[in-house]
Amino acid sequence: MKTVGIIFITAIACILPFLLPGNFYLGIATQILVYGLFAVSVNTLAGYGGMVSLGHAGFLGIAAYAYAVTSGTYGFSPWIAVGAALLIGTAAAAVFGLIALRTSGLSFLMITLALGQIVWGVAFRYTDLTNGDNGISLGRASVISADPLTLYYVCLAVLALVMVLLAAFIRSPLGAAIKGVRDQPRRMSTLGYNTWAIRYVAYLVSGFVATVSGILYVQIFQFISPHALSLTVSSEAVLMVIAGGIGTLFGPLLGAGVVVLLKNVASAYTDRWPTLLGCIFLFIIIAMPEGLLPGSKRILAGMIGSFRKGAAPSASLQPTSRAR
């Protein structure tokens, strides 16, 4: 059933550009893929590792700036810029992880917030390198492709590859250890696991995925400014993860879809789209506290169960204790 669903969604994603009315909507679909990948990176840390970060936009931004400076400012080929961005973004995650993982819980949240704000401050003030608030614009020659259709498929292919690798990683012994440290850190230490090192690996993997999303971000917008590193972007990613289903593989993609669609489509009709976003988020929290994906599964299972019993389909809106 799950495999059929994944094949169906992948098939829809493959033919989607031909179903959309124009490049505007194709651009939104591409944004969903990129923000979805970014949300997946936050979910790797928060959902599987149990560490909620409010500074993850820092990695997206560092990678995007590294790409923009290497390719745009210094004129290296886009592929060299991709390599440089991957290296610099992951190295930043390696350094930040050493600092952030000295803490846990609320302190971890605050230290990641502080680290994110430092990166934002550097992007804002180090104008010689980043062009400050004006940001860096890239020409068509500085990106891998400027064609919206090609960019859509590049983003889709990268997202699919990351999801396949991540699914394998989460099922692996190391993935199981990451979830074990999230649930029972004391037990894991007693079993011989180095809990700090396992958390650090989760942080690195998450930082790497955020780095990849940063490289895609700069491809689709051909522009990077301090806004991309802001607290708002980090918070939105956490919102996407919670809305879609924290600790689920595909939930963050669904959450990203909801947030990006609301931002881009609803804002065309009303200036009060953040209020609408807030109301939708409230509805999700009340009706499906476990997130859209697990919540929809629960409701669907309830409806199927009722249908099989021959009763009128009436799904409970209350989550089961296990779903909580």
């Binding site: 394998a168 692996s172 011989g192 696991y193 180095n194 296990r322």
Partner: protein, 245 residues
């Protein structure tokens, strides 16, 4: 040779002395019972031995090696396994996955980033063997959250055994069990190999006294009596401090 040696072990939280100047030896293969009234410092002593707490003073030696400064995971690698008074299981996972995760902790395969945890036949087979020992093989693929309390208590022991420890610390393994379930766990404890050194905290005197070779009695964090089972039972201080309760 001593499996464990505590020398002048002390632990304070601010001005509160939870463990004060405790020294004793546990020989290889010995069954040692730690007795004491509530608040005597028994679980704190286990936390010090396992590495969850750092001693304020004194040393802990495991088979002659000073492990006082080692973190919990490195002490586990040297052969200390333990169970917890409050169950600490992975309740969202299956019974066998809990044991496999425990077995993996002692191998370098715990760092493997690819390949399914469930596909490792060698680990699954060894986990099944342990589950058979604790009589949980019939619920191997059941989710822990769907098991009974007695089954979870036995799973706690199974996870500690999966580590293949040299020294096993059992913190109230019979707590909360019915009379029938106690019999099952008692049989399991008596069947543990004699090569394994076991230190146990337990309040069920019928089972605990039958199990122990030697007993250490704690009161207010101090070692009140230490000796063979019969010596400690006969000691008037034991009756006054604990058995009279």
């Amino acid at each position: 040779m001593s499996a464990l040696e505590l020398n002048n072990l002390s632990k304070s939280f601010g001005g509160l002395h939870v463990i004060s100047d405790v020294s004793f030896k546990v020989m290889e293969g010995e069954r040692r019972l730690i007795l004491g009234p509530n608040g005597a410092g028994k679980t704190t002593l286990f936390n010090l031995i396992a590495g969850d707490l750092a001693p304020s003073f004194g040393t802990i030696s495991l088979a002659g090696e000073d492990v006082s400064a080692l973190p919990t995971n490195r002490r586990a690698a040297r052969g200390i396994g333990r169970t917890f008074q409050i169950l600490t299981l992975f309740s969202g996972e299956t019974v066998i996955r809990n044991v496999v995760l425990a077995s993996l902790g002692r191998t370098s395969r715990r760092w493997k980033p690819f390949g399914s945890l469930d596909a490792d036949e060698e680990f699954r087979a060894s986990a099944m063997e342990i589950l058979r020992t604790v009589m949980l093989d019939y619920i191997a693929d059941k989710c822990v959250s769907e098991t009974s309390y007695g089954e979870r208590r036995r799973l706690e022991i199974a996870m500690a055994l999966a580590q293949q420890p040299r020294l096993l610390l059992l913190d109230e393994p019979l707590a909360g069990l019915s009379k029938e379930e106690r019999k099952g766990v008692e049989g399991l404890l008596n069947a543990l190999p004699r090569s394994l050194t076991v230190i146990m905290i337990e309040h069920d005197m019928d089972v605990a006294l039958g199990f122990a070779d030697r007993i250490a009695l704690l009161q207010n964090g101090k070692l009140l009596v230490d000796g063979s089972r019969d010596e400690v039972i006969a000691d008037p201080r034991t009756k006054e401090a604990y058995l009279a309760e």
